[in-house]
Symmetry: C2
Subunit: 399 residues, 2 copies
């Protein structure tokens, strides 16, 4: 097969707010081949900045855009996906946005190769990365990923609703957490626990509230521990690796999770080796796709920590995320977007539904295994046109 087209599409809801809700817009990428097979992927990134990475003029040998590097390339199997991953990142060595922007394309390439070989992506990854072949009969516990309510009462209501929907685990994040005082933070956690009930798992996402202040992060971990959360997530800024390391050395009474800010393998490796987190949370839509995410899964296995997805997008991203770690029985948690926008809910024609046992499984469909709904793309499409000196260098492709 040859790659004949690489087309990003910018989709958005009519109204966008400052809420930490990543489903308000998105960038999806369609890759087409000369055999008629097409694949799709999704980035968790600024749509316009990422789209520019597909069409920016060459500046020199280290700033070459994704389309220019990719169109015309041969794609036979997963070896080629890794080769192209190296090539694109090398050609864009000096484009900082490259990892966010390329994520959607890398996912689409895995989708295409899976369709071509009639195999689900998790099997291709087993072969390519030598993951122990345990199959996928390791269903994951989906945790609803929601924002804290604006108050403890509102948080209690959200938690109660999630419990009634059957969720046995839920992560509460951002919103007022860390914005007022310790007492308020504790009340938020208490409300989440009370709403979800004693037997549920709850996770607390502090939304980088305490910067590099590991002391406050430790104090909160101690204060929250009476409510037995599974983890305290991103108490510190993504940059604050030294502070994460110090926090870890203090042995906080609840595990620490982080990693959604990782755009490169090294950022995750740095967080694991030097930040010494207990859970590493990887977004395939930011870390240059499935290829790098799979390498981070390998590292997590070597280091004996737990890999978890970070997903706050559609079920296309959710399925792509799950292929990376479906075959590891110990990696048993799945971030499961529960409150997404209409756009993210309707982006795929099928979903990874929660089973009757309350768990989530991949299917054996080839490729990523979920299909894009073109009606949704048409409904939410932002028509982007970029002109340089009067010449159009980008216009959205025909759907």
């Amino acid at each position: 097969m040859k790659i004949v087209a690489v087309d990003p599409f910018y989709l958005k809801m009519p109204n966008i707010t400052t809420d930490a809700d990543g489903t308000q817009d998105t960038l999806v990428v369609r890759v087409r081949t000369d055999e008629g097979i097409e694949g799709w992927g999704e980035c968790d990134a600024s749509p316009l900045v990422s789209l520019a990475t597909y069409c920016c003029p060459m500046s020199h040998g280290n700033i070459i855009n994704i389309r220019q590097s990719l169109v015309g390339e041969v794609l036979r199997g997963s070896d080629d996906i890794l080769r192209l991953h190296d090539k694109i990142l090398r050609n864009a060595l000096d484009i900082q946005q490259i990892d966010h922007a390329y994520s959607g394309t890398d996912i689409a390439l895995w989708d295409i190769v899976g369709q071509k070989l009639k195999r689900p992506v998790y099997q291709l990854l087993e072969d390519q990365f030598g993951f122990s072949s345990q199959g996928i009969d390791h269903p994951k516990i989906p945790y609803a990923s929601v924002l804290f309510g604006d108050t403890p009462e509102a948080t209690f209501q959200i938690a109660t609703r999630l419990k009634s929907q059957g969720f046995k685990a839920a992560k509460f994040g951002w919103g007022p957490m860390g914005q007022f005082d310790e007492k308020y933070d504790i009340e938020l956690v208490e409300s989440a626990r009370e709403g979800m009930g004693k037997s549920a798992q709850i996770m607390i996402d502090a939304g980088v509230a305490w910067g590099s202040d590991y002391k406050t992060a430790y104090d909160r971990a101690e204060a929250f521990s009476q409510y037995t959360p599974t983890w305290l997530e991103e108490p510190l800024a993504p940059e604050a690796i030294e502070a994460y390391g110090t926090l870890s050395s203090l042995n906080p009474p609840i595990p620490i999770a982080a990693g959604e800010g990782s755009a490169t393998f090294r950022m995750a490796e740095d967080l694991i080796l030097n930040g010494k987190v207990d859970y590493v949370q990887i977004d395939v839509g930011r870390v240059s796709g499935i290829t790098t995410a799979a390498r981070i899964r390998q590292l997590a296995e070597q280091q004996g920590i737990q890999y978890v997805n970070h997903t706050f997008k559609s079920h296309l991203s959710l399925a792509a995320s799950l292929h990376v770690f479906a075959t590891n029985e110990d990696f048993n948690l799945l971030e499961y977007p529960a409150d997404g926008s209409e756009l993210s809910q309707k982006l795929t024609t099928e979903k990874l539904e929660v089973g009757t046992d309350g768990q989530v499984r991949l299917t054996e469909k080839p490729g990523i295994g979920v299909n894009i709904d073109l009606h949704t793309i048409r409904e939410f499409l932002v028509s982007v046109k970029i002109e340089l000196n009067g010449t159009t260098i980008f216009d959205h492709a025909v759907l």
Copy 2:
């Protein structure tokens, strides 16, 4: 003062090649205030991708563009520059390109505050960061920064020319280095040494040739050491921090330099603490400007290694770079672009000329201390227009 406008301008040469020559295009940023003072800065980054970071629509509270965060803000002194640096990076937490894109603006803000207070930027930095006040009577040895010739013979010719121009130090990089075999690599270094003469300093820039292969990097360091280069630069990929650490532990016979790929404080910190480089090379046009570069200078001082600028742009970038470390006597080397394009040569109305003693000094002019040539901007301007759903969200500002 209030910030009233933040305008990026994309400039390019008529023809762009794949040569590793960063002066073929550029992005300069003009910031205007309500008191009529304006400042300028330059990014070493993809112009279009960076420009998109100034105008991309909000996606949520962590993807807010630079203009939206900055226009209308108060700017009284350097405290405000640091406050705004935090704000912009926090508002763009999920825009990977933010550090490259914001660099030009941060430089422009230092330029403005210096003009307002009638003080050169290096003095503002002394006050803000508590650098020991040694003044700037510490001229730097400029090393010409050039690409290897395509052959050892061509490299010898380049070196001979630089020597005749009076350069007592020169860095040779990229081109054929690392692309063929060890013998060829050695011949390139030998030619550089012979052309420059025995008493000159030469630096070898391997242009990330050996990826994460620290063994080959060590072997080359050993093979090159007979020509006594000051350092071997970027033998490995920016990501390969573990490999840098291993290389360092092998005690190579010549010092190792790296860091131009650093877009964040942590990337430089990681390279210093874990990669254990001997020289850290920082580009103010990539690392979110002077503010972060000054913090990295502090770290280099604490760790006892040498800070060096990375500059492959105009003398606006060169002057901005020099303000960061002018006051440290031990940081005595200055990367000095010697072969830049017409665009980069003409971008400023004055240059940091090499003195009669062969060294380079800052002046005591307020701000950055060099002025932009508006004729050059008009001559090389790329008119950028971005439309979303038929509405123009970016059009280049009036000059």
